[in-house]
Symmetry: C2
Subunit: 316 residues, 2 copies
């Protein structure tokens, strides 16, 4: 058999080609983008599940258990753990994700950690690119798992087909604020570590919060599980699949994917524009000079900002 | 005396003119920007203190107490509470900030809550605009206080002259990850609620973390306080003023402000570019149509993204 190029190897389900292409995407490699442009028609098979929730909720363990459940059904799986590093992590969590999971030995499971610091083209663009690679690679399900609940992470998770929100009992009052706003994006709730006291109270609180919203077309189910004890993972998976079925039968999956594509396009545009600006401005040292002039009150920041904009924007 | 325009009233220290101008900035009003362009030369007097830390740390109470300490020294103060709403709060905290503070009755204290939902031109642009208005208004000190520790809030707080990080004892392990990365931006640490058990342990942890970084030119002091009991607020304020003195005497204040102006310029450019794109693209319904075509695999997302970019970017 002749030597295959990376494109052919990816189509053949070669795991290393998959890893290589994602690394190229992280380096903002033009060739990788060209490959995705050509192979984009091969996407659309994978179903994307976003997993988010507060730190310490056990998202990784729960994801691993859900994946094992799907493996029993012979599904091919991709897992992307995103950790937009700055300003909160030190990137230390990255990499651990892979080492910690025994799934990494399974040929039909692909796991990858992605962080801001490693993404030259922007974390969103890299993550969405990786989803496409895994889709072409032949994954049936792709999990996007966040390390924390930072805004950029949530923005990415929001673009999943189903968003799973992992909660734990006794988060304390301070987390209530987080719970309040983040609940809107959840399609399914899991209360992990449900052997702890307070699990029923947390379930009740979530249900009461859901009661307040009478405009929901699909009421998110709230499932008590224990990932560590492997308890009720199958029940949770069924609820996720029910949400999928609901989206498919009501034609809302397409609607949702259009909305997600919109988000993705705008975010990629934003990341590209900033790269463009920085490339041009750094070359001319324009930004540093203007920042100095603003500090010295030689120019006001609004006029300075317009000077920078002129670098790439058509004059009207 | 003839009727004065808003510009003159602001220069005269009229509190209502100040409020009005900030509201105009939030609506992305062109006239407000023109006023700031003209009056920018009048800025530079105010010293900006950023206050951040985890939810529940008591940032607002501590800020209020620091402000009262500065009022004893006859300083004029501005407080901006930022709450980038989406995706976590419901905006409910907004407004409360003002009602909760008895400082709002003081003519020499100006308090304002700002949220994403109320900021048509972007939260960063509005906040920085408000800082300039308060500077022109004659404030000696301006506090920028965050509700949470979201990335956009931290990005804004980072541009303060001094960043005060408010911690509390017993945050639990889950918060350690937050502590780890956020510590880099702190110039002064306050451990609030220090009457609680565990305050010494928290202080020790922070000191140990600081020990790890031997490249610091100014080692952030760690001060135990109790805002509720009004304990050691004066000590904390002195530490903040010592940081200011350090910056001024080493000429690092100017350096820092240049760096901050750079951040501000780039962020404003980003917010402006996205407004420009959205304005043009919404008019032509381009984004929605492209998002649909991407979902239907009629076009790949990278080509679609370039179509959108063409709306404003010069062809090269």
């Amino acid at each position: 058999m002749p030597c295959l190029n990376i494109e052919e190897r990816l189509l053949n389900g070669d795991k290393r080609a998959c890893a290589r292409l994602i690394t190229m995407l992280e380096s903002n490699d033009r060739e990788a983008i060209e490959i995705l442009k050509r192979l984009y028609k091969n996407t659309g098979n994978a179903y994307v599940i976003g997993v988010t929730g507060p730190p310490g909720a056990g998202k990784s363990t729960l994801t691993d258990k859900l994946v094992k459940e799907l493996r029993k059904r012979d599904k091919k799986i991709g897992i992307i753990a995103i950790d937009p590093t700055s300003p909160f992590s030190g990137g230390a969590i990255l990499g651990d994700r892979i080492r910690m999971s025994d799934l990494s030995l399974d040929d039909n499971v692909f796991i990858r950690s992605m962080g801001t610091r490693g993404s030259l083209g922007g974390i969103s663009k890299s993550t969405w690119g990786a989803v496409k690679v895994l889709d072409i690679f032949g994954c049936d399900y792709i999990f996007i798992e966040t390390v924390g609940v930072g805004q950029s992470e949530v923005d990415i998770v929001k673009t999943a087909d189903t968003v799973l929100m992992v909660m734990v009992p006794n988060l304390g009052d301070d987390i209530q604020a987080i719970k309040a706003g983040i609940m809107e994006i959840a399609d399914v709730f899991a209360i992990n570590k449900s052997d702890l006291d307070g699990a029923d109270k947390t379930k009740l609180e979530i249900e009461m919060n859901l009661d307040l919203n009478d405009k929901m077309e699909f009421r998110p189910p709230v499932v008590k599980v224990s990932a560590a004890q492997n308890k009720d993972i199958d029940v949770l998976l069924e609820k996720i699949l029910e949400h999928r079925k609901y989206l498919e039968e009501t034609n809302k999956l397409e609607e949702r994917r259009i909305r997600n594509n919109r988000t993705e396009l705008l975010k990629m545009v934003e990341e590209d524009l900033m790269s463009l600006i920085l490339d041009k401005a750094v070359k001319e040292d324009l930004i540093n000079n203007l920042a100095r002039d603003v500090a010295l009150r030689k120019i006001d920041p609004y006029t300075a900002k317009d000077e920078i904009l002129k670098l790439i924007v058509n004059s009207e």
